[in-house]
Amino acid sequence: MDTVALISPLIIGAAIVVILLPENSLRGIWLILTVCLGAGIGLGITSSAIFLWLALIGSPNSAYFAAELIVACILSLSAFYRFRHLRSGDLNNAALRIEAHCASIEWLKRMFVILLVISMVSFVIKAVFNNPHGIFDAWTGWNYRARWMFRGDDQWMFAFARVSMGDSPDYPLLITGSIYRMWKILGNDYVAVPILLATLFTFGSILMIFFSIAELRGKNQGYLAAMFMFISTQFFNVGSYQYGDVPLAFFILSTIILMSLQDHYPRQSYRIAFLTGLAVSCAAWTKNEGLLFLVLVGLVRFISQPGKPKWSRLVKEFLSFTSGLAFVVATLIFFKLKYAPANDLISHDNLEKLGAYLFDADRYMLVLTAILKKIFTFNEGIVWLMILYLVISGFDKSRFPDKRILSYLFLMFLMVCGYFFSYLISPHDVAWQIGSSIRRLVVQLWPSWVFLFFYCVRGPEKSLTAAEHR
């Protein structure tokens, strides 16, 4: 029953992907992109829509759900029309054609499927029997606000009242709004709904890594990248806690994947830019850190272009990108201006202390040391496994003439710098703040690091397949 409530976001999101990329979105591994990204952006759009309805019209009734279904039907008919009216030449000669990179290694494929199934079973057992309500931040933020919106009747705005220090009532509403929307459809606040969303974003991230690396580097490299994520048990743990960090990680990863696809398939660049805009707006609509990401994506993608950019092309791409993000970001601005209390980082008291924080050398050392320590000890030191793999396999040097990859690495570095400064100016006890959140900040960027790592290192395509055939 819970999955029924997920159908219209999935249809809306998947239809948008098919309308924009009709050549390939329904073929082979591209179906993973269509379903996973489609579900993610569909949840972003529908959570925005239901929040606007609640705020401007009142409690969503059958008229809202009828309107949502009509939009889903119109979009799916448009997607069907776009797909049906592709000229046969488009299908055969599509710029986004699926390349026969190399045959997949059968044992690697089988191992991937087995480990995926076991990981999903572990995740669901943990989420259902151990943390069905999530853990601390879910009780103070994500599920707490959804309960207020669902049970609160005309007092639903208590969802955004700050009661104690750990509350984050100013956080955006993609998760909260999606849970509320599904509860409203089902007529009950089942715990299965947040569990379903947590499962979707956790395994959606892994499948998106598999799809992107398989598409850009070959299936075997894709299996390896996804299997590397299976080692990252911290990612599964945080996912099962029903926090916003794994959904944010999903949207950050999706944005970077879409930008990489734009570079890989320049003929489809404007259409993919629309999807990139949608994905980055969903990141901003998920958590405040997503707002930082949105600004940095704009900076890295459109301002600090490597080489001499073609301005007309850049302007067109920028327009497409901003059209993609317009609806969700407009909802976010409305929420921030009308409902969200001021964030504690930018409160008046904190701004007065800013000077003292910025000239406190001990604070810099404390934050820097904590971040570096966490990076090297995250998930029992998994980064050392990455380093060892890199030493054995080496970089794929053919990737590095493409300066865009370096710009994505730079984007990740800027995100870490953003986290660094948010700790630096934190009004709370810094040691406490770092201790309670740094692991989750690493989780937000972890899938994107894994994607960029496996995009850049040499893969098993040639050597292993040759060995298999011997």
């Binding site: 943990k126 601390f136 009780w139 009747d153 750990g166």
Partner: protein, 124 residues
């Protein structure tokens, strides 16, 4: 290159299996679960007795930071106020480690749920 591949495949295999068994052990043998489940169960009958959107005082012998957070989460759309001030018409007491039924001036015991949770109401 085969060595590099095995460097990922072998740890992935063992980590996934060990993770699975650690979760099964934790949940089905050690029977560990988050306290939110207990709070939901314990406070469910209280919700029936509180008027919708009631504001009530809340007293507890639990000192964990999550105690008030979990009560606040479980009783939505009612709203707890930690402590006795400002005083409200209803008072909810959760004494999990204290056996005696407490007395509060100006309040009478409306219902003892038998699981440590008690609902008091102000004398009229």
């Amino acid at each position: 290159m085969r060595g590099a591949v095995l460097l990922i495949v072998i740890p992935a295999f063992f980590v996934v299996i060990i993770y699975f068994f650690s979760i099964v052990t934790e949940i089905f043998i050690e029977e560990y679960h988050q306290s939110a489940i207990d709070y939901e169960r314990r406070l469910a009958p209280l919700k029936e007795d509180l008027p919708p959107h009631a504001v009530f005082n809340y007293i507890s012998d639990q000192h964990a930071a999550e105690d008030f957070v979990l009560v606040r989460y479980a009783v939505i759309p009612a709203r707890p106020v930690r402590g006795m001030k400002p005083s409200q018409d209803y008072l909810v007491v959760q004494y999990l480690d204290t056996n005696a039924i407490p007395k509060f001036g100006g309040y009478f015991l409306k219902r003892d749920y038998g699981n440590g949770v008690m609902l008091f109401q102000r004398n009229r």
